[in-house]
């Protein structure tokens, strides 16, 4: 399953540069243009004179050796670029998913238990609105209110320029804490808070809705009635007997949010000038930095694939019905 999909992804990324309008070498040369002799030289240098299947094969071999090409804009290897920026996106995505889980699961549980109450109706109304939210607009609104009107949070970036400390983990929250500079952690935290809310909104809505419906299904099951009949308290029935079973589909949902998060990161990072791979991809597309786009595509698709696979495995581990098969 994975292997053919991986090769498919590489074909898509390889084909990407070939189907772009215009000559790749002229694109590389930029506005200055290129002399005919130099053009021939470059043609040979990049291997464009070889048959297409041979070019693809070379590309694949390079990929397996960790060579994802060189960025036109920065002249650095694409993989290096990606790995420098990746922690920023991971930090943001992790915070967003934690935000979504911490709010979404309790909200979903209470909604299911108090089905039809005002709490349920309000929560589900908000969840549907969150699910329908154009998040790039949501980000702008939060900036208007919290950064503009109230002046509480900064508008862009990961940390105030006042602070400088070496990168240890790549996660600004941890690094700023380790640096021991007073105010650094607070600055990092304040920079993170709005992007987290923006990126976490759709996952929050999806998780709340999914938890509610999974919980409702489980609450009607016989074993829940048995638990009640045994005289167990509400907390134990819901917290232990019902929740454990209801969480199984919820965890799958959380795993599926990774693709959503990476797509959302493109918009969130652009709005908040967050130096992660989402913004980098958009910038690369606009700069026509095709090696970066090509490499980024493969790496992002790989990450999505690996995460989906992990979720599948986890699903098997936590779901006894599959585990015992």
């Amino acid at each position: 399953m994975i292997v053919p999909t991986f090769f498919g992804i590489t074909i898509v990324a390889f084909g990407f540069v070939r189907v772009l309008p215009g000559d790749p070498i002229l694109a590389l040369a930029g506005e200055r243009g290129v002399k005919p002799e130099r053009y021939q030289e470059l043609l040979v240098q990049f291997g464009f004179d070889k048959p297409i299947w041979e070019q693809y094969f070379t590309y694949l071999v390079n990929l397996f050796q960790g060579d994802f090409g060189t960025s036109i804009a920065t002249k650095r290897p694409v993989l290096d670029e990606f790995l420098t920026l990746f922690p920023a996106t991971v930090e943001l995505a992790l915070c967003a998913i934690v935000f979504a889980v911490l709010l979404g699961i309790p909200a979903g549980i209470i909604s299911a238990v108090k089905r039809g109450s005002w709490f349920d109706q309000t929560t589900m109304g908000i969840a549907l609105a969150g699910y329908s939210m154009p998040i790039f607009w949501w980000g702008l609104l939060l900036i208007i209110f919290f950064s503009g009107t109230l002046g509480w949070t900064p508008v862009s970036g990961r940390i105030s320029l006042l602070y400088y400390f070496p990168q240890v983990t790549g996660f600004m929250l941890i690094d700023s804490f380790l640096s021991g500079q007073s105010g650094a952690f607070k600055s990092a935290f304040m920079h993170l808070i709005l992007p987290t809310i923006v990126l976490g909104t759709i996952p929050l809505a999806v998780i709340a809705r999914q938890t509610r419906s999974a919980m409702l299904e489980v609450l009607g099951e016989d074993y829940v009635r048995t638990a009640r009949a045994k005289g167990l308290g509400q907390v134990q029935v819901i917290g232990v007997h019902a929740l454990r079973n209801a969480l199984i589909p919820v965890i799958t949902t959380i795993g599926l949010q990774v693709g959503v998060l990476l797509a959302g990161a493109i918009l969130t990072e652009t709005i908040f000038s967050w130096p992660g791979i989402g913004k980098w991809m958009v910038d690369s597309i606009f700069r026509r930095d095709y090696p970066s786009v090509q490499g980024g595509l493969v790496l992002i698709a790989l990450i999505v694939m690996v995460v989906n696979l992990t979720v599948d495995v986890l699903y098997g581990l936590i779901n006894p019905r599959i585990r015992h098969q």
């Binding site: 990407f16 154009p134 208007i144 797509a263 493109i266 918009l267």
Partner: protein
């Protein structure tokens, strides 16, 4: 039943019976759909949007592209400095916000209709072929769908637009390509569960060809999940098109597309809240209404959820 008896059945009676059964199904559908209050509200809003879009030139108080040189960034009527001439204020080059929003509804609905039509048709054909023929055809088709789905949808759409060139039409094509695998998968799954039913076998025995079996026998019985998915994709299409417009890859200025309007308004975020707020509200309300309808459709069409 013998031949003589079959011939004696009055065809008009059969047709009337069929019509009755269809009416009853429709009635039942409306019964479940209208039980969901949110869905009815959503439907009313969608109806209103369609009305606004259809009569945009007559409803809009001003020309959507006309720049009033004496009214740059004029606030809405209820703010100090606002005027009844521009009820929702004007943008940075003096265009009337309300008129632009009204005209923008045309783009959003147009995007939704076109994208869903393309991806639905493509997805149904691909899914039918894969689910009906199985074997290597199925394997190849589904692998390609997996590959498309391995990329985050917005990223894939962005890259496709980069290849095709920025613009509304190319953005719609890109979004349709990205949404299409969902329909293909859904159709394939439905076809596979239907293909071995007795009615299909009996049609096959009666001599129906591949085309008839696929499109006339099996497809009508797979429509329920596809209709729900189509509604949800409608809202995704509007959101993604707006996002592409916002990133500068969708409709190009001065088109009054809501996402593009937001992109133009970005630099005035902290100075003129109205140029940012209203286009977003328009997107949110439209998408929310369509999602409400989608939820209602799912409740009404999904037999598992019916409590009869």
């Amino acid at each position: 039943m013998t031949d003589t008896q079959t011939k004696n059945i009055d065809q008009t009676v059969v047709k009337a019976e069929v019509r009755n059964a269809q009416l009853q199904m429709l009635n039942e559908f409306w019964h479940y759909f209208s039980a969901n209050k949110g869905a009815v509200i959503g439907l009313v809003i969608v109806g209103f949007m369609v009305f606004v879009a259809a009569f945009a030139p007559w409803l809009a108080p001003h020309d959507a592209g006309h720049q009033y040189r004496d009214a740059f960034l004029m606030p809405p009527v209820w703010e100090t400095g606002g005027s009844w001439k521009f009820i929702l204020g004007t943008d940075a080059v003096g265009r009337d916000m309300l008129s632009r929003l009204i005209h923008g509804s045309r783009f959003s609905l147009f995007i939704g209709v076109i994208v869903v039509s393309i991806s639905l048709t493509g997805g149904i054909i691909i899914g039918l072929v894969a689910g009906y023929f199985r074997g290597w055809v199925d394997t190849i088709i589904m692998r390609i769908m997996d590959i498309i789905l391995a990329f985050p949808s917005l990223l894939m759409a962005l890259v496709l637009v980069a290849i095709l060139g920025p613009g509304l039409v190319n953005a719609m094509i890109a979004i349709a390509i990205v949404l299409q695998p969902h329909f293909a998968r859904l159709t394939r799954a439905a076809v596979m569960s239907e293909a071995n039913r007795e009615y299909v076998t009996s049609a096959k025995v009666a001599g129906a060809g591949h085309m008839r079996l696929m499109f006339k026998t099996i497809l009508p019985n797979c429509l329920a999940p596809l209709i729900v998915q189509a509604t949800l994709s409608f809202s995704t299409a509007i959101l993604d098109a707006a996002a592409l417009g916002f990133l500068g890859m969708g409709a190009q200025p001065p088109t009054p597309e809501w996402g593009t309007m937001l992109a133009e308004a970005r630099e005035f975020v902290l100075r003129a809240w109205w140029v940012v707020t209203f286009p977003g509200i328009a997107i949110l309300v439209t998408v929310l209404a369509i999602n409400l309808v989608g939820d209602g459709l799912r409740d009404a069409l999904d037999p598992k959820l019916k409590r009869s």
